[in-house]
């Protein structure tokens, strides 16, 4: 039979917690320091003159308006798609579920440029729509069909929204699925015994409990859309005053060698991001929701 350790030797064995806090604290400090240094670097190269010049530039004002418009539309669309997808993935086991789950991750893991390139090819290079009577070709591309019907997507505002939507929705789905995972499915089961069908169980029981998570998914989608650049550049272009959003404004300012102007726009984007993050923190904290 083993001897029981004496209390003093146990205390000795436990050792100090200082190395733990020093180690973990140092790791955290290095990363936080990097983020802070990046912001400070932006501030360092910005001079008041360039802030004034950039702010008074009508192109930038149009860029801000277009950014707010496209990000808001994208966020609404992302919530409309991410909520049912997240619910289906959370609640049901169906053939091909793993495939669907994996495909949702594709826009998250592939380089953003590839998303833009894929959209560009899908709309312009693949002829999969019947040409119809007035066409010489039997099959035409989606963009050509849209053009014939008085619409355009590629290199116009809808392309910005579609490029943002393709990426932002994937992130929103992850959040809505996680939210529904945290809600006890037996609540809906009890609802079913009380007379709910699947739809009523979702609208009356699951969704009201997921409200904050769904709002947070919308805000996350908005934030992702704000930071999207690669797919917009490829699919919508970066035409001044036409398809220019804040991310492309930074790129255009760098292209003309205006580093200070690019940094000023970057600070504006950082400010918007901070505002959003604060909103989510306040919104979720006030309702004691952990997301």
């Amino acid at each position: 039979m083993k001897k029981t350790a004496k209390p003093e030797s146990m205390t000795k064995k436990l050792g100090s917690d200082l190395p733990f806090f020093l180690g973990f604290g140092s790791v955290a400090a290095i990363y936080i320091g990097l983020i802070a240094a990046m912001v400070v670097a932006n501030v360092a190269v910005v001079d008041p003159e360039s802030i004034r010049a950039v702010w008074q530039d009508p192109n930038l004002q149009a860029s801000i308006r277009l950014t707010l418009l496209t990000c808001s539309i994208t966020a609404i669309l992302a919530v409309l798609f991410a909520t049912p997808i997240g619910y289906l993935l959370s609640r049901f086991r169906f053939p091909g579920r793993n495939l669907v789950d994996t495909m949702i991750d594709i826009p998250i893991v592939i380089p953003p440029l590839v998303v833009g390139l894929s959209l560009l090819i899908l709309f312009n290079r693949i002829d999969f729509i019947p040409g119809g009577a007035g066409n010489s070709e039997s099959w035409i591309s989606l963009e050509k069909w849209l053009h014939q019907n008085g619409m355009a997507v590629t290199f116009s505002v809808p392309a910005i929204i579609l490029a943002q939507f393709a990426v932002a929705t994937a992130f929103a789905v992850r959040l809505t699925k996680n939210t529904f995972d945290q809600i006890d499915p037996r609540c809906e089961q009890v609802g079913l015994t009380l007379g709910c069908n699947r739809s009523a169980a979702f609208w009356r029981i699951a969704l009201p409990q997921a409200g904050q998570g769904v709002v947070a998914a919308g805000v996350l989608a908005w934030a992702r859309a704000l930071g999207e650049f690669g797919p917009i550049l490829v699919f919508a272009g970066a035409t001044r005053g036409r398809t220019e959003v804040l991310a492309t404004s930074v790129f255009l300012e760098i292209n003309i060698g205006n580093l200070s102007g690019a940094a000023a726009i970057s600070l504006l984007m950082i400010g918007l991001a901070l505002l959003l993050i604060s909103f989510v923190r306040f919104f979720t904290r006030s309702r004691s929701v952990v997301l």
């Binding site: 089961q189 009890v190 609802g191 015994t193 009380l194 007379g195 069908n197 009201p208 409990q209």
Partner: protein
Amino acid sequence: MSLIVEDLQVHAGRFSLPSISFTIPTGQCGVLMGPSGSGKTTLMEALCGLRKVSAGRIELGGRRIDTLRPGARRMGLVPQDTVLFPHLKVRDHLAFGPQLQGWTSSDIASRVDELARALHIFELLDRKPKGLSGGEAKRVAIGRAIAGKPQLLCLDEALTGLDEETHQATMGVLQQVIKEEEITTLYITHRADEASQVGDVMINWLAAGGKDDDEK
């Protein structure tokens, strides 16, 4: 409405519920006793339509219900841990079933009032589940289950987890409500004292065809 369960089989993953048969006459309380982990909750879920039945039949009031969707079976379920809706007030819990059945507002209001008084939860009507005591939550769950006047009330270890005093008080309220509502009841428990207190018909799990958990 009498409940007749005939040769009911359920397969859930690796677990399989053997052929179960029993009957509860109209308006009586049948108590199903059996060891923990033997599949009583699986049986309850199958009766309520939350699990697919592999074989056998379930009749309620002469009507075969095992192919119906849960909402069409007219059953009220009280799960072991109550599973109240966190976003709804107690009043809304009691009104939930009647609303889905299309009752008029005045009928719903009078039903809520009637049940709240019978279950001694009148003063809780405008509160949400968070912060309710164990006994209060159980009484709300019972009220939610019977508000729509179901043909069968299913209680799955419904009073588990209460201290003895609250257990006795809640049991008294439950017995009173079952008697007043004249509702056929299936009560699952592993406590012999509960079984003798509430049961009109004793259903022995092993005699009904169930297996001991060691035999699964």
